[in-house]
């Protein structure tokens, strides 16, 4: 199955304007330098589209990453946003800092399974624990792509390496962890499933709090062979969509009709709504325990669930918790940040 290629293929003729009057190319980035066919590029394309369709002001986008092939991708979308390719596994801290500095930014972090589930595990857990408002995408290929194909902690038990060795450990399931830890937006998708990714990204943009999205994203160079459980073929054969997702942004409410079969609806704080159409069994994305038991079940069956696995848009996010003044802390004037002389004198007086 041939995946899309990033940026270059975004059709230039697409001149449709979004609610800001911007066109798709306004959301593009530099040309990708990933391997042709890398799953990550497909994800990049849907990120671009989601920002475009949601009409996010490009200059307000902060793109954060760690290190890895996946972590390179922020350079490939929304060039008009500021990007930050930090150190390995520490994107959560950098992103949290950016949110502290300017809570009005649309902060997105892109990471890999190595960057997140190995070296970054501690920060990942604590980012979720804080519920920092941002999108966190883990581009999951089961290997360390950039260092040439060693297994990561999300590799499945028995998955074969390029060199024919079996992975000896059960995978760490970052979605199950996120659900357990109380993350209020947990989704999984597949880089080959562009429609689903797009819907999830748009919902994530409407969510206030950490939106964690694990995307199986095959590494064409090191983990796309027979025997790998993160190859295109394997993923295509084993993806289990848990529902179809319809997303209605707050600014398009009028036009949106409920599609047949869309039974469940969850509303975000900004008024946007996400609607779920059952596929097979009825799945309640607001039920933490169901999410976990379905995840365990598919783990055992060696398949993988995709969709918005858990959603709780009412959870308090980190910025609400911090309760800072409305303007970004970054640009507060001196008059607000340096107390007057009398205050210092008062303090001195107490110490004399």
């Amino acid at each position: 199955m041939a995946p899309e290629i990033a940026t270059p293929q975004v059709p230039a003729e697409q001149r449709k304007q979004n609610r800001l009057g911007l066109i798709l190319p306004d959301y593009q980035g530099s040309a990708s330098t990933l391997c042709a066919g890398c799953g990550h590029d497909s994800i990049t394309n849907q990120i671009i589209r989601a920002y475009f369709e949601m009409g996010i002001p490009p200059h307000m986008v902060a793109k954060m990453s760690g290190i890895g092939c996946s972590s390179k991708t922020p350079a490939y979308f929304v060039n008009k946003g500021h990007g930050f390719n930090a150190v390995h596994g520490r994107m959560p801290a950098i992103a949290t800092g950016a949110v502290l500095g300017n809570k009005h930014l649309y902060t997105i972090g892109v990471s890999g399974d190595g960057d997140t589930a190995s070296i970054g595990m501690g920060q990942f857990v604590h980012l979720l624990h804080r519920n920092v408002p941002m999108i966190y995408i883990m581009e999951n290929n089961g290997v360390y792509g950039l260092t040439k194909g060693q297994f990561s902690a999300t590799a499945d038990l028995g998955s074969k390496s390029k060199w024919g060795k079996d992975n000896p450990a059960e995978p760490i399931d970052c979605c199950a962890m996120a659900v357990e830890l109380g993350c209020a937006f947990v989704a999984r998708s597949f880089s080959g499933d562009t429609k689903q990714m797009l819907a999830i990204f748009k919902a994530a943009l409407a969510h206030k709090g950490t939106a964690f999205i694990d995307i199986v994203s095959p590494c064409i160079t090191f983990n796309n062979h027979e025997g790998s459980t993160k190859s295109y073929k394997w993923a295509k054969d084993h993806e289990e969509q848990i529902h179809e997702i319809g997303f209605v942004p707050f600014f398009e409410q009028v036009e949106a009709e409920v599609k047949p079969g869309e039974t469940r609806e969850v509303q975000f704080q900004d008024g946007s709504r996400v609607r779920f159409k059952a596929v097979g069994k009825d799945y309640d994305p607001t039920n933490k325990e169901q999410a976990l038991s379905e995840l365990f079940k598919t783990q055992k069956e060696r398949s993988f669930l995709t969709g918005i696995l858990y959603l709780n848009p009412k959870q308090k996010d980190f910025c609400t918790e911090l309760d800072t003044v409305d303007p970004p802390l970054a640009t507060l004037p001196e008059s607000l940040t340096r107390p007057p002389k009398e205050v210092l004198e008062e303090v001195m007086e107490r110490l004399r």
Partner: protein, 609 residues
């Protein structure tokens, strides 16, 4: 029966006015800290320069702790190795404590301790029935353990002729928001005083007399001072992970922020504080916040700096401001975390792999800690790199007499940040170009609404336009510019304070908390041995011409510091080339603060005198 009737007393000596040291030997967690501070404050309020140092274990309760107060009319407030007055409260160390006293010293002890005064006939003994006194004056049995300590303050007030009213005043100030606590303590101090007056005959020479050498001064610890400095420097983001001795800095800052930095109009915070999950996270958050434009800082100690190294390197290469308060302690992580050291100089000056260099500021007292906290933010934002403020446990956690702090006169320097208007005017923006020849490029903040505002931040793999590049010359150009930028620092960090002594062949170089002992040692050398010394007090790394000149102009220069390896000496040696042979080491490394006598003796022996 009081000890004043014991036989074989030392002769009554000539009075010693405003020049002594007191040590209270106790166990931590016993609540003696307040009493000790009140004692120190009482002396301070009588106009006598003084300092207090707490030597405590890495443990929460039950282990030996020693609090030392030094009062000195000439203003010597460094640690003094010899004790004049000991207050024994700890059975576990009582013998050792008494053994360590110099001949002629004074020993107050709890009558419940198994002390036999005969073991040291050369001491002046005062036995005190703490339990009895406290029982009488404090009806609430639960409070007794705490106020017991105020008893010895009262006793010492009597013996040292400290005005009891000053102790009351200090207590009232201290418990301004808890008048009941003030009262209980006042009663206890009074009881101690009364008991002493009724039962003790003064046989020792030490006395406090009012003078006016503390006018305009304050008492504060260095971490609170630095915290205040940050608050007045407009800090907007503080991230931290608890570690002794830097937790105090963060906790003080949080208190000040909550008190003075809530927006009047909205009641909301003009700052954000995050207790991070570890130091890697706290420095990461600082970089993220600074990158977004906040004034961000963190505080830690050596182990934290080790963990932060990779990110500190990124700050250097990717040019992101960060202020780090390093409250140095003795290493390593499972070492002596509650002991002091100037031990992170090597680590901080070059933290991270590759060719990285970082400026360090060295406050030597609270007032400077306040000022330098502010300067650090200005420098970090102007230079877009990490700036360290190097405190240590001695400065940070002990109470220091200090000049009152001066309100900053200059507006905040937010550095070379281009606004939308700037971009419109310039029409061009290259993130890593050296436009001004000082090595410092311009930056924009995320969220800047202009088509050319954005750039991509990464380590060293970029050209002047911040575009990805692995080209050899792009890398080299950038590295050369960074070297230039670091050179620019020399003229912008606080210069040294230099005191040339006419005719002195010997120079002293010290910094941070070695300052007070150094000053005192210079006087000792002059007064006792006729040895003159000039003195340069470093306030920052990198150095400037004045440092080189100073070394040039002396035969020997003693670099006084509190670590084993002479970490500052090595930085100086690299600076001055051949003249490094003049540099001699005075290295104090025991975990306790350096004292003047150690310096004097070390210098004399190296001078062959």
């Amino acid at each position: 029966m009081t000890t004043s009737l014991a036989p074989d007393k030392p002769k009554v000596q000539a009075p010693v006015i405003n020049d002594f040291s007191i040590e209270v030997a106790t166990v931590n967690g016993s609540g003696s800290q307040t009493a000790n501070n009140m004692l120190m404050r009482s002396i301070f309020q009588m106009g006598v320069p003084c300092s207090g140092k707490n030597l405590f274990p890495s443990n929460i309760a039950g282990l030996p702790t020693w609090f030392t107060i030094r009062a000195n009319k000439d203003g010597y407030i460094a640690r003094k190795a010899e004790l004049d007055i000991l207050v024994c409260m700890n059975p576990d160390t009582v013998f050792e404590d008494i053994q360590n006293l110099r001949s002629g010293a004074v020993c107050l002890y709890n009558e419940e301790l198994p002390v036999n005064e005969d073991i040291r006939k050369d001491l002046t003994w005062y036995k005190i029935p703490f339990a009895r006194i406290v029982k009488e004056c404090c009806p609430d049995a639960k409070l007794r353990r705490l106020v017991t300590n105020m008893i010895y303050v009262g006793v010492l007030d009597f013996l040292l002729e400290i005005d009891l009213q000053e102790t009351f005043k200090a207590l009232k100030k201290n418990f301004a928001r808890k008048p009941k606590a003030a009262d209980v303590n006042i009663v206890a101090a009074q009881a101690g005083y009364d008991w002493a007056k009724a039962n003790l005959v003064k046989r020792d020479p030490f006395r406090v007399q009012r003078m006016n050498k503390t006018q305009g001064k304050i008492i504060i610890d260095g971490t609170s001072a630095a915290a205040l400095g940050a608050v007045f420097a407009g800090v907007t983001v503080l991230t931290w992970y608890p570690i002794t001795p830097s937790s105090s800095l963060c906790e003080a800052m949080i208190d000040y922020l909550n008190e003075y930095r809530m927006d009047k109009a909205t009641g909301k915070a003009t700052f954000a504080v995050v207790q991070a999950e570890d130091e890697l996270a706290s420095i990461g958050m600082v970089l993220g916040a600074s990158w977004a434009g906040a004034r961000a800082c963190t505080a830690t100690a050596g182990p934290g700096i080790s963990l932060m190294s990779e990110f500190i390197g990124l700050s250097y290469y990717a040019e992101i401001p960060a202020v780090i308060f390093d409250v140095q302690r003795t290493g390593p992580s499972t070492g002596l975390p509650t002991r002091t050291m100037q031990g992170d100089i090597r680590q901080c000056s070059g933290a991270s792999h590759g060719d990285t260099k970082h400026p360090l500021l060295f406050p030597s007292d609270p007032s400077e800690a306040f000022d330098m906290a502010g300067q650090a933010f200005d420098l970090a934002e102007r230079f877009q790199t990490t700036v360290f403020v190097m405190l240590d446990l001695d400065l940070g956690m002990n109470n220091w007499m200090s000049d009152a702090f001066n309100y900053p006169t200059k507006p905040l320097d937010r550095g070379k940040v281009l606004s939308v208007e700037d971009l419109k005017r310039l029409g061009k923006f290259e993130r890593y170009r050296d436009v001004d020849g000082d090595g410092i490029p311009y930056r924009t903040l995320p969220g800047t609404d202009h088509p050319i505002a954005s750039y991509f931040t990464r380590g060293s793999g970029h050209n002047e336009k911040a575009l990805y590049s692995e080209k050899p010359h792009d890398y080299k150009n950038n590295m050369d510019r960074l070297a230039r930028k670091f050179e620019t620092f020399r003229a912008h960090v606080p210069g040294p304070v230099v005191e040339y002594e006419p005719g002195a062949e010997i120079g002293f170089i010290a910094f941070g908390t070695s300052h007070a002992a150094t000053q005192e040692s210079r006087d000792q050398l002059r007064n006792e041995k006729g040895v003159k010394t000039s003195y340069l007090r470093l306030r920052a790394y990198p150095f400037n011409q004045a440092v080189r000149d100073f070394i040039s102009r002396h035969k020997h220069v003693y670099v006084i510091e509190q670590n084993r390896d002479g970490q500052m000496r090595d930085l100086l040696a690299l600076e001055v080339g051949g003249e490094c042979t003049k540099l001699r080491r005075v290295n104090h490394y025991t975990g306790v603060a350096i004292d003047a006598r150690f310096i004097t003796n070390t210098v004399l022996s190296q001078e062959g005198k």
